[in-house]
Symmetry: D2
Subunit: 354 residues, 4 copies
């Protein structure tokens, strides 16, 4: 990596400067060796004001099209509204850029397929979808242990995405556009399951749900707690749980069971290494949000993307593997396909065959 | 209770002296205040030889019918093969006995219904089916916390029954008679879920499974790992996992999620309070079998049954509640009904509506 | 054991029917195979009234001397005030009884020595001092692992006895007679350390203390938090911590370090297997008192004593080992000697050589 | 901080490019906003070759004196042999530099005092000694909780520094120069204890030790396992344990007890959030070395130093507090003084009064 650090840095332009976008921009500007934050783009004046202060060396644009014509930008980093992702990826590829795009690729399977097809025309461009859990050190360690055969043949993943309850139910307003709990939350668990099980294709799914607290979701056919089973080719299985009503914090965990053992990742979502002994007993405070839980993963994800692009350019051995560490467009398509089937199953009460 | 201990003891006759039967017999003979082990019954000479040595004060019978005509036996304790349970319960009730019967009530729903109907004719007889988890101190504590409102309204249970792998696959031979993994193992989790959720009725289930290690199960349509979802009336949910292939021990755990918090019972199936620090890291040895995990529950279950019968006879306040602590025939019927539907779903790949 | 259970039971007489005495009496009456509670003794009318109700089959005495002349009592069980222990043991031995005595043997080293000497005249009588931790299943498992060489050569024990704070400071009134925190609490840890390290003799100790909450202790030279180091022959070491001011419960734990690993017993004093997920984080409720933590140990201790006496009488192989499972008078003498030295060190601020 | 990031960066020169020096250099070069690594210095050709490759923008020196005359260096970062620290700090201050110096300040109390005195002449220079635990997020969280009163008045700290055993005993060769286990390892725990207890002065100490595995230490009067008690003004206490013979990894943990609760930091030194379920039970792999455990602390420590210096220059509110987050020379002096007394106590077997 040291050699890379001296090579020409990768010049990145971030599109989207909301809460998560700002975090990505800060990482790319100050914490990713081999990258410079060359440009940032948002239609919102507030975002640009923030950028003028926090990202003094970045060129600022209001319009994504302007970013794409900036020839000193090598890669775009999309943290824009989900509905824009698909077209923005295609446009970026046509403009010759590498692309990192936050999940989801799209809430529409056909649109996912169009992007996959289009991207095949640009095989020398790196495209990564932001399933950041793959870069969390604990998830990564589990993945490597599975790959090394530590648990024999993996055949079952249980995985959950559980968010701290927002008593204001602010998110209910976004229910129409979020795609529902399975496409918004479980899509991460779907990607984790496929990644840990060797990327099998799903064959059948079943889902059910409950509205525990947020009655407003009912009119959109959505739930605040969802459970699901997914069957894969080769007799592999996954169980998913997603919740928006936890009292204790963001509780994201996964387990992978194999023929010779099992691994659990993230049991007890402790915020740090402190335990408190008081009248409540012995307790650990929990990570409040996915930002807190996956802060490090977001950073490593950015470092890995930059390293992957530079490895391609450097013609380095291992470049292909580097490039595949993150989720590909095909992975994102498959996760969306499964998420859709779960939503369909929730709606109909029937198992859905893929 | 002290008053009870001086009252006339309950005279119990155990039928079935296999591994679990012997444990029940030893508890009743030596560790249950207010009970005496008056008789024991088995058709096997080995069992009777064991009993002559270990239970010197018990009258011994080869034939269940003889036990039933022994008028100095107040209650029978059935630890016999599952296929006999239903008829033996009915016979015992007709002979005027109270009945404790190991799970399952029956592997046939219609037969369960016949027993329920017959038992209605004997309202003053105590009949309890041995879902011992209800008496495990940790499960009981969780139940009491839920009842006291500690987690708000409970709406989801996740529960698992995972056994240490038997490399010889000895249990495969019993697959034809066990009813399959859901009726044999998950039936405990079904009872736990209904008990913690307020005894709702199931409305729809879906199940899937995998054969991870024991290929011989395929010919019986059984699996060594099964997953399931159960929807209940009132929008409540349960997820189940059963496995016969764990590498670390018997891992039985449950979680109940409510609108204001959650409780986990049995996470990390540590055998005791010892942690080992060595070249493997920091570790806890696990309970190898359900006997080790639920030893205390079997004892408390017996104590509770005896206390319940004596409370009925003593006309004590709280007698009804005592009597309902364990699983009733109706609970066992509902657990069997759900277990059957899970087996059907596994077979068909479709959701099953109840 | 089954053979024993048919042999003549050991007839026990309990002396002292306070809180702990009643627990011992209840265990011996109803939960110890091979024992009967033949008699009980207390000078207090309240205690005797309790006994008439709870122990209907026991002969009741006001006077310890009456208990000793009851020839149908084989063993006495002393749960009397500490100051009486030494003489009561001697008197019981002279009356031909086996003796179980709660700790401490005495708060006076010379008196301990007199009892040891006197007891040598009765080699066929079983005398055990109630260091119940040895019978806790987790402590016992650790002991067996150490003995089997699992951690190599053990050379260091850390052990603590920490009690839930009593805001009323009721115990301060007993400070004059308790012998101080080291003789009252740490004496258990001293016994654990010697037991796990192979019963070495102490060579030097140092102690210090703090009054965190209970200022009233100062006038007795006592503290509510004490720390100590003990050096043993052969270069072995122990560290002790005792506290009366915990906010979370009774927290009794020990660690033993060896040349090839370490064992921890009782880290995280969870009351059971339930974890609570709520706005405080994820927590375990703790055992409030040593009664709750060591309930099982008290029972096993009684079973082991009875088994040991019966094994002696039965001339069984292993009888000697059985008899030595609990703490001997010599163990109690050595623990008292070390406890005294700690008190002396606390008083003088100097290391004390033994 | 964003404003700072645009201000003139702090130009740092690292002296010493061994294993830890290289880590500091890499952090300062690439991961500390507001800093640039302007120069690096080592007498060793290997180190310089590494630096030419890894730190292409740094000016390289063989001689510390050259670094001090480089006027474009604002601060020096000493990761040199311990014996050089004291004089190098003084020389740096006289050359007008801010100073970060790895612990220990010196192994000689008088020399520590000389540095403290000399540094008083340069009140506008930032001098921090590298007790990095203060910057570990978990230690920092505990410190903030204590400061906020969460556990009432803190009165006792238990703290340990336990290293994975090196079977080759390589470190034995360095025993003559390390100052012994208390000055080399426990000095961190001493600083933690004083920091969490409000920086009290020690009044008396006692130490003992054992040679568990590394017999070669005996000739230097050193041990591979040491235990100690430290009494502070105001009736506060600390207990320390240091070991070089752990089987499971680097196990650094601390506890602070207060009148209303306690906090534990670092119990169970798990490497990450993965748990392994296999034939050994359920286990966590541990951090092998202090590098792995405190990687993040080293980075935050560097960020805090840089922020503190820049805050001084910016005349910012909170600058003084920032500047005091790390250990001052006075803290290092006091830690050394206590470490010395522990060594003296180990040697003499007597308590040592300070």
């Amino acid at each position: 990596m040291q050699a890379n650090e001296r090579a020409q840095p990768l010049r990145v332009g971030v599109a989207g400067l909301g809460r998560l976008g700002r975090r990505h921009a800060g990482n790319l500007a100050y914490r990713v060796p081999g990258a410079t934050l060359a440009a940032a783009c948002s239609p919102l004046e507030d975002d640009l004001a923030w950028a003028r202060d926090a990202l003094p060396e970045a060129r600022l644009y209001r319009d994504y099209a302007e970013l794409l014509v900036d020839t000193s930008v090598d890669a775009v980093w999309l943290v824009t509204p989900s509905a824009l992702h698909a077209q923005q990826i295609v446009d970026a590829l046509r403009a010759g850029k590498h692309v990192f795009c936050e999940k989801p690729l799209s809430l529409d399977v056909a649109e996912c397929e169009r992007v996959v097809e289009e991207a095949r025309r640009f095989p020398d461009r790196q495209v990564t979808i932001g399933f950041m859990r793959r870069f969390d050190p604990s998830y990564h360690d589990a993945f490597e242990q599975v790959r090394a055969g530590a648990i024999g043949r993996p055949f079952l993943v249980r995985s959950q995405t559980c968010d701290l309850n927002d008593p204001d139910g602010f998110f209910v307003r976004f229910a129409p556009g979020s795609g529902g709990i399975f496409l918004d939350c479980t899509v991460h668990d779907i990607d984790v399951a496929r990644w840990l099980l060797g990327k099998p294709r799903a064959t059948r799914v079943f889902a059910a749900g409950a509205v525990a607290l947020h009655e407003g979701l009912r009119e959109y056919g959505d739930v605040d707690n969802g459970v699901a089973i997914c069957e894969f080719q080769g007799g592999k299985l996954a169980m998913f749980y997603a919740s928006r009503t936890m009292a204790h914090g963001n509780d994201t965990s996964s387990e992978v069971f194999g023929t010779a053992g099992a691994l659990a990742i993230g049991h007890l979502p402790r915020a740090n290494r402190v335990e408190i002994y008081d009248a409540h007993g012995v307790r650990s405070v929990c990570t409040p949000t996915f930002f807190d839980r996956f802060e490090e993963a977001f950073l490593i994800e950015a470092q890995a993307f930059v390293a992957a692009v530079r490895a391609r350019h450097g013609g380095e051995a291992g470049a292909v593997e580097h490039a595949q560490q993150g989720a590909t467009l095909e992975d994102a398509l498959e996760a969306t396909r499964i998420g859709f089937a779960l939503r369909e199953s929730l709606r109909t009460g029937q198992a859905v065959t893929l």
